[in-house]
Symmetry: C2
Subunit: 409 residues, 2 copies
């Protein structure tokens, strides 16, 4: 295994700090190689995906350091059951070799260590399963700043995206959507951009929900800079994630590739407001290509800021969604998947609330919908307690909200 | 043939006046019977449709006047290859017999004669072909006030419907939609109600287009009364149509049945703005049931007045349409169908305009889109003349409007 000739002793502590104390020497080398590759290959580089996927990151890096030529790479991939044209191999080497230095990875690892950034590779249990659908275009590594446990909630996540140039209407819709989805237990995924993205994150935070931002550059530098305070808050109670190492600058290409991560990591994608050529349509395109449910929120036909959403509904079969309930229907919870979670730490909270939940259930009917106020009066609880109990019971599938109130299942 | 024992000499002049001078005695009787039936059976009465369809209106009326019982009716229908249960026949007789008087038809015919209302039966060349798709629920007769030639334009018509409680947004959308469709040669069909319907008619009139209103009561009394001036204008340059005889009051049932005429007579139906339970969704339902293209205009999700439109897009597969061009795509012109029309009376106008059309064609390019102003400058014609020539050429399929102007095919 190569680590660019660096001594294992100088690299291993750094790698173990950001990727896991329990890593073996071989795993350290593989993580270091993944970290290096995330700086050598641009996001979505298929040839890197093939090579690393087939040879392992360490062996693939060795091939680079040993200056294998294109023919040897092609033969090596073919021997291992893969496919690579010599033209692709030649071009890839021409892309990668200028970036072949131990410094980028070392600097990135040190910066990650300073900021508490974690390095995840596909073998990690928190690696988002949805990313595997990207195949050879899957990211080589993830750099995670904040609570990496947020990644575990991606199995109940919805991406809320939209234009930077949002209108008051769009921001209102984003706020309502994120709050309503958080109330239903969803994690909000977005790109931390100005406009719709930022409002979706903000509203999720305000509702005390999980939120996750995928960045187009390293997670050590927040972009856009005007969202530094917002991203700091996301780090505190959610996670900020990138496939690029610390120190990497965002670029147009990286924004487009970042969008594929948002689409792939989430169960569904909803475009809240987008002009005819908004970048969020790119995220929508990724979601559709991946077979992920795609929703779009309509708006006034007189508003150019909604033209992209209408286009998605008309031309790309996006589902017309008008509220959080309809968005949630795009990616319904799989209760069977939830049971293990519910028996974990979360169930402690549920147990604490049980008396209130029982009283709320007692106050509900299976037929006549009742408002939280009505239930509060019947149960002798405060409206706030009723609402939080209803939220938990709803997650458990015990109660359902109808147009004119709540009923028991 | 029965005419309630009325002397032919007293009825025939009246019938010939409103249904056609050239009618034979037998045809007079049949028209009189249809006129009677349109007052005896409620709109959409399937049993009346079966009986009149199988026996002819005159024979069916004779059966009523001669007080046939249910069994005889059933046997008669069966003998003629139809199907009718004795239960249905019994109930139908119970509905019809209380209304069996010569007076309603006579009064209606006299009133029609006074107001210049025309009586059309399915054998008339102007009978809208689309109504035949209603089968046994097809109207028994149409009472037409205004230019009955407007009926001939229904093969290029779009129904624009929506809620009475329209917002400024909805009215704006209706205005733009009707004007844009008129510009493309479409006839605007609607129900003359307050709100969206009224705006659609008004805008069609303002654009000098064809418009047709289906009423839920007799065409002698305009409903709603606040639209008396509007309906008077529609009579002057379009047509106001009902399947109910003069003197008939609108009712809830009749409004719902009127909606089926709007949907069936038009090539496509577009709901412009509608709340969750708007009556215009009923028209949409008829359109969908008839296999007619159905469009709905989205609006702000924060507007309850658009909730019905979003529902149509989400649940009923309505096409999301945001402008007149997209609405026109729902019911594109069939050029082959048009050719016979164009060789009829309308071609006289076309011939008169031919020099202007030639000059307009000379001023157009097959590639570079040109505005009417540009074409006016190039051809030496007025903008108005250019626009009217473009309209005729568009109907003939010789020119096409693109986003940035007109081109020649």
């Amino acid at each position: 295994m190569t680590m660019f000739g660096l001594k294992e002793a100088s690299v291993a502590p750094l790698v173990r700090q950001i990727a896991g104390d329990e890593l073996s020497t071989a795993e350290v080398a593989e993580h270091f190689a993944r970290a290096s590759w995330s700086g050598i290959a641009e996001p979505g580089d298929r040839v890197a995906g093939v090579l690393v996927g087939i040879a392992g990151a360490g062996a693939a890096l060795t091939a680079l350091v040993e200056r294998w030529d294109a023919d040897r790479l092609v033969a090596f991939v073919a021997d291992n059951g893969g496919e690579l044209s010599s033209e692709d191999a030649r071009k890839a080497l021409a892309r990668w070799l200028p970036r072949l230095t131990s410094q980028t990875a070392l600097v990135a690892l040190r910066q990650a260590g300073r900021l508490g950034v974690r390095l995840l590779t596909p073998s990690h249990e928190l690696w988002p399963a949805g990313l595997d659908d990207l195949g050879w275009h899957s990211p080589l590594a993830l750099w995670v700043r904040g609570g990496e446990a947020t990644l575990a909630t991606l199995d109940r996540s919805i991406a809320l995206v939209g234009a930077r140039a949002a209108t008051g209407y769009g921001e209102h819709v984003a706020m309502e959507a994120a709050a309503g989805l958080v109330d239903r237990g969803y994690t909000i995924v977005s790109g931390a951009a100005y406009g719709i993205d930022g409002m979706a994150h903000r509203s999720a935070l305000a509702s005390g929900g999980h939120t996750l931002a995928f960045l187009a550059g390293g997670v050590d530098r927040f972009y856009p800079s005007g969202h530094e305070a917002l991203l700091t808050r996301i780090v505190e109670s959610g996670a900020v994630v990138s496939e690029l190492p610390c120190g990497a600058q965002p670029s147009k290409w990286r924004f487009l590739q970042r969008n594929r991560l948002i689409a792939a990591a989430s169960r569904a994608t909803v475009v809240l407001e987008a002009g005819w050529r908004s970048g969020s349509l790119n995220t929508a395109g990724h979601a559709a290509a991946l077979g992920r449910p795609l929703g779009a929120v309509p708006g006034p036909v007189t508003s150019a800021a909604s033209a992209g959403c209408h286009r998605l509904i008309r031309e790309f079969d996006a589902v017309c969604v008008t509220n959080a309930e309809q968005m949630a229907e795009l990616a319904p919870f799989d209760d069977k998947h939830e049971t293990p979670d519910a028996s974990g730490p979360a169930s402690t909270d549920a147990d604490e609330h049980r008396p209130e939940q029982l009283r709320v259930l007692d106050a509900l009917s299976t037929r006549a919908p009742r408002s939280p106020h009505d239930v509060a009066a019947r149960s002798g609880l405060s409206v706030g307690d009723v609402q939080s109990a209803l939220g938990i019971l709803q997650l458990d599938g015990r109660v359902v909200e109808r147009e004119r109130g709540w009923i028991m299942r």
